[in-house]
Symmetry: C2
Protein backbone atom coordinates (compact mmCIF):
# COMPACT_ATOMS: atom_id res chain seq x y z
CA UNK A 1 0.00 0.00 0.00
CA UNK A 2 1.26 3.43 -0.90
CA UNK A 3 0.59 6.59 1.04
CA UNK A 4 -2.17 7.81 -1.24
CA UNK A 5 -4.09 4.59 -1.03
CA UNK A 6 -3.82 4.42 2.72
CA UNK A 7 -4.86 8.06 3.02
CA UNK A 8 -7.86 7.49 0.84
CA UNK A 9 -9.03 4.41 2.65
CA UNK A 10 -8.86 6.28 5.93
CA UNK A 11 -10.26 9.56 4.74
CA UNK A 12 -7.22 11.57 5.76
CA UNK A 13 -4.63 13.49 3.77
CA UNK A 14 -1.19 12.27 2.83
CA UNK A 15 0.08 15.29 4.72
CA UNK A 16 -1.48 13.95 7.85
CA UNK A 17 0.20 10.60 7.40
CA UNK A 18 3.59 12.21 6.94
CA UNK A 19 2.86 14.42 9.92
CA UNK A 20 2.08 11.39 12.04
CA UNK A 21 5.27 9.77 10.87
CA UNK A 22 7.26 12.80 11.95
CA UNK A 23 5.54 12.70 15.28
CA UNK A 24 6.20 9.04 15.86
CA UNK A 25 2.65 7.85 15.64
CA UNK A 26 2.86 5.76 12.52
CA UNK A 27 5.92 4.51 10.71
CA UNK A 28 5.56 2.87 7.32
CA UNK A 29 6.65 -0.74 7.45
CA UNK A 30 9.17 -0.16 4.68
CA UNK A 31 10.23 1.88 1.69
CA UNK A 32 10.02 0.69 -1.89
CA UNK A 33 13.11 0.70 -4.11
CA UNK A 34 12.08 4.09 -5.35
CA UNK A 35 11.72 5.44 -1.83
CA UNK A 36 7.94 5.27 -1.60
CA UNK A 37 6.42 4.63 1.80
CA UNK A 38 4.98 1.16 2.04
CA UNK A 39 2.17 0.42 4.46
CA UNK A 40 0.59 -2.88 5.42
CA UNK A 41 -2.64 -3.92 7.12
CA UNK A 42 -0.83 -3.43 10.40
CA UNK A 43 -0.47 0.26 9.74
CA UNK A 44 -4.02 0.53 8.54
CA UNK A 45 -5.25 -0.91 11.81
CA UNK A 46 -2.89 1.27 13.78
CA UNK A 47 -4.25 4.33 12.05
CA UNK A 48 -7.80 3.24 12.72
CA UNK A 49 -6.83 2.92 16.35
CA UNK A 50 -5.28 6.40 16.33
CA UNK A 51 -8.29 7.98 14.68
CA UNK A 52 -10.72 6.33 17.06
CA UNK A 53 -8.63 7.44 19.99
CA UNK A 54 -8.65 10.98 18.69
CA UNK A 55 -12.38 10.97 18.22
CA UNK A 56 -12.99 10.15 21.82
CA UNK A 57 -10.88 13.04 22.95
CA UNK A 58 -7.34 11.73 23.28
CA UNK A 59 -4.63 14.11 22.17
CA UNK A 60 -1.95 12.83 19.84
CA UNK A 61 0.41 12.87 22.76
CA UNK A 62 -1.88 10.63 24.74
CA UNK A 63 -2.28 8.34 21.77
CA UNK A 64 1.48 8.15 21.59
CA UNK A 65 1.60 7.07 25.18
CA UNK A 66 -0.88 4.35 24.42
CA UNK A 67 1.14 3.22 21.46
CA UNK A 68 4.34 3.37 23.42
CA UNK A 69 3.01 0.59 25.53
CA UNK A 70 3.72 -1.39 22.41
CA UNK A 71 6.76 0.35 21.12
CA UNK A 72 8.65 0.03 24.36
CA UNK A 73 7.59 -3.47 25.10
CA UNK A 74 11.10 -4.78 24.63
CA UNK A 75 12.57 -2.43 27.15
CA UNK A 76 9.94 -2.79 29.78
CA UNK A 77 8.74 -5.50 32.02
CA UNK A 78 5.29 -6.92 31.92
CA UNK A 79 4.76 -5.33 35.28
CA UNK A 80 5.41 -1.84 34.00
CA UNK A 81 3.26 -2.32 30.96
CA UNK A 82 0.46 -3.57 33.14
CA UNK A 83 0.67 -0.53 35.36
CA UNK A 84 0.55 1.94 32.51
CA UNK A 85 -2.34 0.07 31.02
CA UNK A 86 -4.33 0.06 34.22
CA UNK A 87 -3.69 3.74 34.64
CA UNK A 88 -5.03 4.49 31.16
CA UNK A 89 -7.93 2.19 31.84
CA UNK A 90 -8.97 4.35 34.77
CA UNK A 91 -8.87 7.41 32.57
CA UNK A 92 -11.06 5.77 29.97
CA UNK A 93 -13.53 4.62 32.58
CA UNK A 94 -13.80 8.06 34.09
CA UNK A 95 -14.46 9.47 30.67
CA UNK A 96 -17.13 6.89 30.02
CA UNK A 97 -18.84 7.77 33.27
CA UNK A 98 -18.88 11.44 32.41
CA UNK A 99 -20.31 10.74 29.01
CA UNK A 100 -22.95 8.60 30.61
CA UNK A 101 -23.96 11.53 32.76
CA UNK A 102 -24.37 13.54 29.59
CA UNK A 103 -26.38 10.80 28.07
CA UNK A 104 -28.68 10.80 31.06
CA UNK A 105 -29.17 14.54 30.94
CA UNK A 106 -29.89 14.48 27.26
CA UNK A 107 -32.23 11.55 27.34
CA UNK A 108 -34.03 13.04 30.31
CA UNK A 109 -34.51 16.17 28.25
CA UNK A 110 -35.68 14.23 25.23
CA UNK A 111 -38.17 12.27 27.29
CA UNK A 112 -39.52 15.29 29.01
CA UNK A 113 -39.83 17.24 25.84
CA UNK A 114 -43.26 16.53 24.54
CA UNK A 115 -42.05 17.10 21.01
CA UNK A 116 -45.10 19.10 20.11
CA UNK A 117 -45.35 22.38 18.24
CA UNK A 118 -45.49 24.47 21.43
CA UNK A 119 -42.71 26.79 22.54
CA UNK A 120 -39.98 24.93 24.31
CA UNK A 121 -39.76 27.36 27.19
CA UNK A 122 -39.28 24.79 29.84
CA UNK A 123 -37.13 22.43 27.86
CA UNK A 124 -33.42 22.78 28.29
CA UNK A 125 -30.43 20.73 29.08
CA UNK A 126 -29.69 22.85 32.06
CA UNK A 127 -33.07 22.49 33.66
CA UNK A 128 -32.87 18.81 32.89
CA UNK A 129 -29.58 18.73 34.71
CA UNK A 130 -30.71 20.66 37.68
CA UNK A 131 -34.27 20.29 38.62
CA UNK A 132 -35.85 16.92 38.41
CA UNK A 133 -39.38 18.22 38.46
CA UNK A 134 -39.34 20.34 35.34
CA UNK A 135 -41.81 19.41 32.69
CA UNK A 136 -42.19 20.51 29.16
CA UNK A 137 -44.63 23.37 29.20
Amino acid sequence: MKIGELAKSLGVSTDTLRYYEQHKLLTPSARSESGYRVYTQQQLRQMQFILRAKEVGFSLKEVQELLQIQIEKHQHSCEEVKEITIQKLHLVRTRIEELQRFEQSLSKLAQRCCGGPESADFCSILTALEDVDGTCN
Copy 2:
Protein backbone atom coordinates in the same frame (compact mmCIF):
# COMPACT_ATOMS: atom_id res chain seq x y z
CA MET B 1 -20.50 36.47 42.85
CA LYS B 2 -17.77 38.42 41.12
CA ILE B 3 -15.60 37.11 38.34
CA GLY B 4 -12.62 36.35 40.53
CA GLU B 5 -14.64 34.32 42.96
CA LEU B 6 -16.30 32.31 40.23
CA ALA B 7 -12.97 31.73 38.54
CA LYS B 8 -11.40 30.54 41.76
CA SER B 9 -14.21 28.18 42.64
CA LEU B 10 -13.95 26.61 39.19
CA GLY B 11 -10.21 26.57 38.90
CA VAL B 12 -10.14 28.64 35.74
CA SER B 13 -8.81 32.10 34.99
CA THR B 14 -10.83 35.28 34.77
CA ASP B 15 -9.51 35.52 31.24
CA THR B 16 -11.21 32.29 30.42
CA LEU B 17 -14.51 33.52 31.79
CA ARG B 18 -14.34 36.69 29.74
CA TYR B 19 -13.32 34.63 26.75
CA TYR B 20 -16.34 32.41 27.19
CA GLU B 21 -18.52 35.47 27.48
CA GLN B 22 -17.18 36.80 24.20
CA HIS B 23 -17.84 33.46 22.62
CA LYS B 24 -21.40 33.24 23.89
CA LEU B 25 -20.89 30.37 26.26
CA LEU B 26 -21.54 32.11 29.53
CA THR B 27 -23.12 35.47 30.14
CA PRO B 28 -23.06 36.97 33.62
CA SER B 29 -26.55 37.35 34.99
CA ALA B 30 -26.03 41.07 35.49
CA ARG B 31 -23.64 43.91 36.07
CA SER B 32 -23.22 45.70 39.36
CA GLU B 33 -23.60 49.48 39.52
CA SER B 34 -19.88 49.77 39.08
CA GLY B 35 -19.97 47.56 36.01
CA TYR B 36 -18.68 44.39 37.64
CA ARG B 37 -19.86 41.10 36.22
CA VAL B 38 -22.26 39.41 38.56
CA TYR B 39 -22.69 35.65 38.49
CA THR B 40 -25.16 33.43 40.27
CA GLN B 41 -25.39 29.74 41.07
CA GLN B 42 -26.95 29.30 37.64
CA GLN B 43 -23.75 30.42 35.97
CA LEU B 44 -21.67 28.29 38.26
CA ARG B 45 -23.62 25.23 37.24
CA GLN B 46 -23.50 26.23 33.61
CA MET B 47 -19.74 26.49 33.80
CA GLN B 48 -19.50 23.11 35.46
CA PHE B 49 -21.53 21.75 32.60
CA ILE B 50 -19.24 23.41 30.07
CA LEU B 51 -16.11 22.13 31.74
CA ARG B 52 -17.41 18.60 31.95
CA ALA B 53 -18.43 18.70 28.33
CA LYS B 54 -14.98 19.87 27.38
CA GLU B 55 -13.33 17.10 29.35
CA VAL B 56 -15.15 14.45 27.43
CA GLY B 57 -13.99 15.86 24.16
CA PHE B 58 -16.61 18.36 23.07
CA SER B 59 -15.27 21.47 21.42
CA LEU B 60 -16.49 24.84 22.62
CA LYS B 61 -18.51 25.05 19.46
CA GLU B 62 -20.24 21.79 20.22
CA VAL B 63 -20.86 22.92 23.78
CA GLN B 64 -22.43 26.04 22.38
CA GLU B 65 -24.77 23.95 20.32
CA LEU B 66 -25.75 22.05 23.41
CA LEU B 67 -26.36 25.26 25.30
CA GLN B 68 -28.28 26.75 22.44
CA ILE B 69 -30.89 24.16 23.05
CA GLN B 70 -31.56 26.26 26.10
CA ILE B 71 -30.83 29.68 24.78
CA GLU B 72 -33.16 29.37 21.86
CA LYS B 73 -35.94 27.68 23.69
CA HIS B 74 -38.20 30.67 23.32
CA GLN B 75 -37.84 30.79 19.59
CA HIS B 76 -38.16 27.12 18.94
CA SER B 77 -40.80 24.56 19.27
CA CYS B 78 -40.61 21.58 21.51
CA GLU B 79 -40.36 19.50 18.41
CA GLU B 80 -37.25 21.20 17.19
CA VAL B 81 -35.61 21.07 20.57
CA LYS B 82 -36.38 17.41 20.80
CA GLU B 83 -34.81 16.74 17.46
CA ILE B 84 -31.60 18.53 18.25
CA THR B 85 -31.44 16.74 21.54
CA ILE B 86 -31.90 13.34 20.02
CA GLN B 87 -29.27 14.11 17.47
CA LYS B 88 -26.77 15.04 20.16
CA LEU B 89 -27.77 11.99 22.09
CA HIS B 90 -26.71 9.81 19.21
CA LEU B 91 -23.36 11.53 19.14
CA VAL B 92 -22.83 10.94 22.82
CA ARG B 93 -23.82 7.31 22.53
CA THR B 94 -21.46 6.73 19.66
CA ARG B 95 -18.69 8.25 21.68
CA ILE B 96 -19.51 6.05 24.64
CA GLU B 97 -19.40 2.99 22.44
CA GLU B 98 -16.02 3.94 21.10
CA LEU B 99 -14.69 4.48 24.55
CA GLN B 100 -16.05 1.13 25.58
CA ARG B 101 -14.11 -0.49 22.79
CA PHE B 102 -11.02 1.16 24.18
CA GLU B 103 -11.87 -0.07 27.58
CA GLN B 104 -12.17 -3.58 26.26
CA SER B 105 -8.85 -3.42 24.48
CA LEU B 106 -7.11 -2.03 27.51
CA SER B 107 -8.62 -4.42 29.99
CA LYS B 108 -7.91 -7.32 27.68
CA LEU B 109 -4.31 -6.20 27.62
CA ALA B 110 -4.19 -5.80 31.37
CA GLN B 111 -5.64 -9.24 31.91
CA ARG B 112 -3.35 -10.90 29.50
CA CYS B 113 -0.34 -9.17 30.85
CA CYS B 114 0.95 -11.44 33.55
CA GLY B 115 2.39 -8.47 35.39
CA GLY B 116 5.61 -10.26 36.10
CA PRO B 117 9.18 -9.01 35.74
CA GLU B 118 9.65 -10.55 32.30
CA SER B 119 9.99 -8.58 29.11
CA ALA B 120 6.65 -7.50 27.77
CA ASP B 121 7.39 -8.55 24.22
CA PHE B 122 3.99 -9.93 23.54
CA CYS B 123 1.97 -7.40 25.45
CA SER B 124 0.63 -4.51 23.49
CA ILE B 125 -2.55 -2.71 22.87
CA LEU B 126 -2.34 -3.46 19.24
CA THR B 127 -1.95 -7.16 19.60
CA ALA B 128 -4.74 -7.05 22.13
CA LEU B 129 -6.83 -5.30 19.54
CA GLU B 130 -6.02 -7.59 16.72
CA ASP B 131 -5.27 -11.11 17.56
CA VAL B 132 -7.26 -12.82 20.19
CA ASP B 133 -4.75 -15.55 20.74
CA GLY B 134 -1.81 -13.50 21.92
CA THR B 135 -0.53 -14.30 25.35
CA CYS B 136 1.95 -12.55 27.50
CA ASN B 137 5.26 -14.25 26.92
